[in-house]
């Protein structure tokens, strides 16, 4: 698509973010070629520092850090991706519905949404995970994460819808007798979709961060390798105390790359789409 080509050529941060993410996805796909299975332990000697055989070293569970990392990246991305998909879909429906319907329904919905924005999510998540102990696999985690990241996005989508509603071309369409649904589909969607994409990318940030946090607290299925569980096991076996930094450094550094990559993409995308910043970038002061 032209947007991506343009951004890649001219926008430094997009280029940077895209390259980082490409690398990350590459690593994730490498997991399909891993010589070791993800769930197996004690397949290699334990606690070895990085060497030729094992470029990132090995863990206390007898796993190769590099290959486990590829699985971890893949799983973390899948969980986050599912969460974003579920969450943003519901947010779009909720936000658009609220925005289009307006009136008392809108006000009631917004009141509920505002409550969820204020309520701190981490204690709630800890509570939920505790209640569902043992039942918290991949899919459930993604579902819960998705559900908990609806409030703010739905508010953003709603305000986009509201501003679209007030635009001149909407009134023109209404006055010319266009059916409401058609207006939404034909006139509003083209504006909305790019915004949605840029916003969805930023959804990855929270999902990944929270996945890591929850796993580190020991709240999810610890047999599946994810970035968070790698850190959990690292801590469990006292990697810091025993100077086995490679076990922690790999997931930590990777996580930084992943989130920074996603963030750069999402900001450059939304900057590109925002006509105001485009104009401003052409002539800034001093």
């Amino acid at each position: 698509m032209k947007i991506i080509k343009d951004l890649f050529k001219y926008h430094l941060s997009f280029r940077f973010g895209a390259i980082i993410l490409l690398l990350i996805f590459l690593l994730a796909t490498l997991s399909f070629f891993s010589p070791y299975e993800a769930a197996k332990r004690r397949v290699v000697p334990k606690n070895e520092a990085p060497s030729f055989d094992h470029i990132f070293g090995t863990t206390s569970l007898g796993q190769d850090v590099f290959w486990i990392l590829t699985f971890a990246i893949r799983n973390t991305l899948i969980i986050a991706g599912l969460a974003v998909l579920i969450g943003r879909s519901i947010a779009v429906i909720l936000g658009s519905f609220s925005g289009y319907v307006g009136g008392t329904t809108d006000r009631i919905l917004q009141s509920i949404v505002d409550s969820f924005i204020v309520i701190p999510r981490l204690p709630l998540l800890i509570l939920i995970s505790f209640v569902l102990k043992g039942e918290l696999n991949f899919l459930h985690l993604a579902l819960i994460l998705g559900f908990l990241d609806i409030a703010w996005p739905s508010k953003r989508y709603r305000s986009q819808i509201l501003s679209l509603r007030e635009q001149e071309f909407t009134y023109t369409a209404v006055f010319s007798g266009m059916n409401t649904f058609k207006i939404i589909l034909k006139e509003h969607f083209p504006f909305f979709i790019p915004y949605l994409l840029a916003d969805a990318v930023s959804g990855f940030l929270w999902a990944i961060g929270i996945e890591i946090t929850l796993a580190v607290l020991g709240l999810c299925d610890l047999t599946t390798p994810t970035i968070g569980t790698m850190i959990y096991w690292g801590n469990y076996y006292q990697a810091l105390l025993m100077q086995r930094l490679w076990v922690l450094a790999a997931p930590v550094i990777t996580s930084i790359f992943i989130v920074v990559g996603f963030y750069l993409i999402s900001t450059s995308l939304s900057e590109y789409l925002d006509p105001r910043t485009r104009l401003k970038r052409l002539g800034t002061r001093e």
Partner: protein
Amino acid sequence: MNLLKSYFLPRLSQWLITILIGVTVTFILPRLLPTDPVERTLSTLSSLQTMDPRAVESLKEALEDLYGLGGSPFEQYINYWKRLIRGDLGPSLSAFPTPVIEIIGAGLPWTVGLLTCTIFISWILGIVLGTLAGYLPKKLWCQIMDKIFISIYPIPYYILALILVMAFCYHFQVFPLVGGASGKPEISWSYLSSILWHSFLPATSLIVGSTAFRFIMAKALTSTIIASDYVNYAETAGLSRWRIVLFYVIRNTLLPQATDLGLSIGGIFSGTVITEIVFSYPGIGYSLYMGLLQADFNLILGITVFSIVGIATAALLVDLSYPLLDPRVRYK
């Protein structure tokens, strides 16, 4: 005054609604388990220690109210509220029979201290730096700062804290690893300074993350405001830079940021919880973690409910002070 009512009343009712919804969610959650949570808890507890029968009775009552299934759901709900309004969150299971509310009370000053320091410092830093970066975008140091903060902002609080621990507690061995202070709690310089010393790293980890967010917000807002008519006019008239930044830019960027503060307290609190866990800092976040490790459901439930009410209230207080900043709301 009428207008203040039109401003205050909706926010007060929103506060009530938030608490209502939050408390209801915590009411529903434990009851989603297939087995009776009360029975489970009691059996777990009695297998761990022998207890005075009267203590068991009062415990059973508390548990019934908090997450029991006796009576109709409506009755359960009312009993739940009755308990909460009394401030009685039941006894902690791991520290039986210490009431949960007492444990919260012990940890609260540490958490609140951390929280307020963070918000204060990160706000001032973030706004000042962000505004300058927005006002002078071509200056090199502004661009460098921008790059740095953009890299920091997306990093999860946990990772930030972990990196700091790895660097300064293990590698360079500068800061203490555990606890909130050393020595006896008293009003003495050695105790107070040990508080500062112990909280330096946790606070830094929180502040770094929050400042990054504030910086990015402030910079974006400033970029919008400097394009506004009144800033342009002031510049045309030759007003000095500092006067413009102070009275024309910052004053106006403060407004949306103040609205934002109420909404972001929840996020900073979550960050505080994580930080306390990483640094074993004795606040309510750390108690939550301990409760988790020891399967102390009362404690977990109690802290969650408490934090929901606390944060909703903090957000309300912030919102109520908004008219002080914005004359358009103060005078119709």
